[in-house]
């Protein structure tokens, strides 16, 4: 048990979760108070002692599942119950020998795929949890075609299983069926919507069951450590903008919201508590009353420094679009910290998009408009920093003043066009600060057609911003 827990904590650390020694000890103590056969309680005990940040919970759950899910149907955690693992393993081998689809035992194995689909639909319709679990197991066994020792990731098996089940079609059929069952014929839109959400929720549950089942089998095949390694994913704040998958994008978006809230709170505080100003005579006298007229507690006025103006100039061509989007979202979410924010986007032409953000409170919608409506193509729609900067200088250069901070976003991959770096130099002479944010890793800078240092020498600094953590760090510095 101790070994197991140690391995578990080790894996958490490998996954990037900060687990301190005290927390580890706490976890050890905590599980002594928990009835060991209660798996949920066990999980929460570990979670409460080891995980101190909600965004880490997903990662924790995955590791927990790998380490503790296989410990038998009654989830015994005592030693010497590797037997279940072995059993599953044997089952898989047997199946292997007998060929797929005709594994021995179990009433369900005799069913045709159509019957399974029918049963699944019934289970989803009634929300029958036990049935769904059994079906998940069955469909993985049947459709995933898992072979021991094959070095394929779990997503491949998931894809194979889901392809055979056609869950999207199932959703439509379910909706039809409820529409038929409804008394008085037609469902109202509201009811329809609710039913739709309900079924979506159930199907999502079912998918998770399948995923868990595949994972269980993979662990049985490859062993705990190897499996934990393949499942290891970067935490949301460490995901790279340039290579994020769709799922990761979603989690990034989710992580962004609390982050901006924190950032705004911190910045507002920093502004107020930066330095102490001159003596506030009135306030001091007021407080001296509690000391019998002795001004024992001097009070000061807090200075209110002027907020900077911000101009964001972002490259939104394919590869760096995600980065530009996130930076714009972040900047606008904390726009209260700046007296004015103006934003420009370019590919080879440049367009001002400030208006999109002003028109609506919904940042997502504004971003959507930036992507669809902004006029950023001049010739061929390949990045041309030189031309974009030139036009920027011509049209908006006069608006840059000594209070303005200019942010240039992009990877400076200029497709071998002229760099026109003099524009950046001019901007710097007029503006308070000019910064360049580059979403590429530092080692890629100035390779190929990247000319970031041509521009970089004229700025106050070029920063690598590959993930949320770095972006957050920069923005905090900015104000």
């Amino acid at each position: 048990m101790l070994d197991l827990l140690n391995g578990f904590v080790q894996e958490l650390r490998n996954a990037g979760l900060p687990v301190s020694l005290t927390e580890n000890l706490d976890a050890m103590e905590a599980i002594q108070h928990i009835p060991i056969e209660d798996r949920d309680a066990f999980k929460y005990a570990l979670g409460a002692t080891l995980i101190k940040n909600n965004s880490h919970w997903r990662a924790f759950e995955t590791v927990f599942e790998v380490y503790f899910s296989l410990r038998g149907p009654e989830y015994k955690l005592a030693e010497g119950d590797e037997s279940d693992l072995d059993e599953l393993w044997r089952e898989m081998q047997e199946q292997q020998q007998q060929g797929e689809g005709q594994g021995g035992g179990g009433a369900m194995d005799a069913l045709t795929p159509e019957e399974i689909a029918q049963m699944l639909m019934q289970a989803l319709l009634n929300g029958d949890q036990a049935m769904m679990r059994a079906l998940a197991k069955q469909s993985v066994q049947r459709f995933a075609g898992m072979e021991p020792g094959r070095p394929v990731g779990g997503t491949y098996y998931l894809y194979r299983t889901l392809r055979n089940l056609d869950l999207d079609g199932m959703l439509d059929k379910l909706m039809e069926q409820t529409a038929q069952q409804a008394q008085g014929g037609e469902l109202t839109h509201l009811e329809q919507r609710l039913e739709h959400d309900e079924f979506e929720h159930r199907i999502e549950q079912f998918k998770q069951e399948i995923e868990a089942e595949i994972r269980r089998r993979l662990v049985a095949d490859r062993g705990v450590e190897a499996m934990a390694k393949t499942l290891r994913k970067p935490l949301p704040e460490d995901v790279e903008f340039m290579h994020a998958s769709r799922d990761e994008m979603q989690s990034l978006k989710k992580a962004l919201q609390p982050l901006t809230r924190k950032l705004a709170a911190r910045l507002a505080r920093k502004r107020r508590h930066g330095r102490k100003g001159p003596l506030d005579f009135r306030n001091t006298v007021r407080h001296s009353l509690s000391y019998g007229g002795v001004p024992a507690e001097p009070k000061f006025k807090y200075p209110r420094p002027a907020k900077p103006e911000l101009m964001v100039v972002a490259d939104i061509s394919g590869s760096v679009a995600a980065f530009a989007r996130f930076t714009l979202m972040l900047v606008y979410a904390i726009s209260g910290q700046f007296s004015k924010v103006r934003s420009f986007v370019f590919i080879d032409g440049i367009d001002e998009v400030t208006e999109y953000f002003r028109a609506t409170e919904d940042i997502q919608e504004a971003i959507h408009r930036v992507n669809t409506e902004a006029d950023v193509v001049w010739v061929d729609g390949h990045s041309d920093y030189g031309h974009a900067f030139e036009v920027f200088w011509e049209r908006y250069g006069k608006d840059i003043g000594p209070k303005t901070t200019v942010l240039l976003l992009g990877d400076a991959r200029n497709n071998y066009h002229a760099s026109q770096a003099w524009v950046v130099k001019e901007i710097r002479q007029r503006a308070r600060h000019v910064y360049w944010l580059n979403p590429e890793p530092k080692s890629y800078w100035n390779t190929g057609d990247s000319i970031v240092s041509d521009y970089g020498v004229h700025t106050d600094g070029v920063y690598e911003c590959r993930n949320l953590r770095q972006l957050e760090g920069f923005v905090e510095k900015l104000t």
Partner: protein, 291 residues
């Protein structure tokens, strides 16, 4: 450790049942962590979106165990004299002036720094209490990072050091709950000393139960509908999702209006109780009425 850990709870199930008896429906995580907090003698840091019952949890635990609830509301600028203790200057001044001539200086000096002149603030009060107490430190994320340090001694050792008096140790270990709305990252030192509990929006089934418990006159059918609509709304991308308390407000409103089944028109008219931003309301109406 200053005092023995007294076991208030027998099992996780008991915590859950107890909470239910005071109308607080806990899930596995909540009751499990509350149970552990008692056993390990550790504070609980409760985080989660606004209005999911973080503060209510502490109140309910206090009610269930029959303890006194001592609450420290945190705010920016909270300091030692508001959180821990303060010397009663005015009384000290009076004491010195009252018998200027009779006592020797050293006597007065010792005298004015005795417990008589000490004003206890919530944290010290919780430590000194002889009856069972639950200490609630509300919205701990509002204080500055430096002020957080004030809490560390009391959270890890359950003691308060007063330079003039010495260390005051707890006579019994209180159950401590800290709540946070996550407006800033709390310091590692604070987090390390606490058990962590994240309370999220309840699942649909639990929300329905909550509505049924808190609004007893409501019909099951209506409660079910409410829970389902609220879940659908929470899935949208909104500025602020409806909280549990807003769900309850909505349920009460519908009850007052004598509505038995929610149709589109009623939903539209009463949506402003669930959602507080105009853009959110527009979005939700759009989403819920037409596919």
């Amino acid at each position: 450790m200053a005092a023995e850990v007294a076991n208030r709870f027998e099992s996780v199930q008991q915590v859950r049942d107890g909470l239910k008896s005071v109308n607080y429906l806990a899930d596995d995580g909540i009751s499990g962590v509350a149970f552990l907090a008692d056993r390990l003698g550790k504070p609980v840091l409760v985080e989660g979106p606004a209005g999911v019952g973080k503060t209510q949890l502490a109140k309910s635990i206090a009610e269930m165990t029959g303890s006194r609830l001592i609450r420290l509301q945190c705010y920016e600028g909270l300091d030692e004299s508001r959180a821990l203790y303060e010397w009663n200057y005015k009384k000290q001044l009076l004491r010195i002036q009252a018998d200027k001539n009779s006592d020797s200086w050293s006597e007065v000096h010792d005298d004015i720094f005795s417990e008589e002149f000490l004003l206890t603030r919530p944290l010290l009060e919780a430590i000194r209490a002889s009856d069972p107490v639950v200490l609630l430190i509300d919205e701990v994320d509002r204080v500055e990072v430096e002020t957080e340090a004030l809490l560390l001694e009391i959270l890890s050792d359950y003691q308060v050091s007063i330079p003039e008096l010495g260390t005051i140790e707890a006579t019994q270990i209180p159950l401590v709950f800290l709540t946070s709305n996550n407006t800033r990252e709390l310091s590692e030192a604070l987090k390390r000393r606490c058990l962590y509990l994240h309370v999220d929006y309840p699942t649909m089934e639990r929300e329905k139960e909550i509505v049924l418990t808190k609004v007893p006159e409501i019909t099951e059918h209506l409660a079910d509908q409410i829970a389902r609509i609220v879940r659908s709304i929470r899935m949208l991308d909104l500025k602020k999702s409806p909280s549990v308390s807003e769900t309850l407000d909505w349920a009460r409103t519908l009850l007052l209006l004598n509505i038995e089944t929610i149709d589109e028109a009623t939903a539209k008219e009463t949506l402003h109780i669930l959602l507080k931003y105009q853009t959110d309301i527009l979005k939700a109406t759009k989403e819920l009425s037409v596919e």
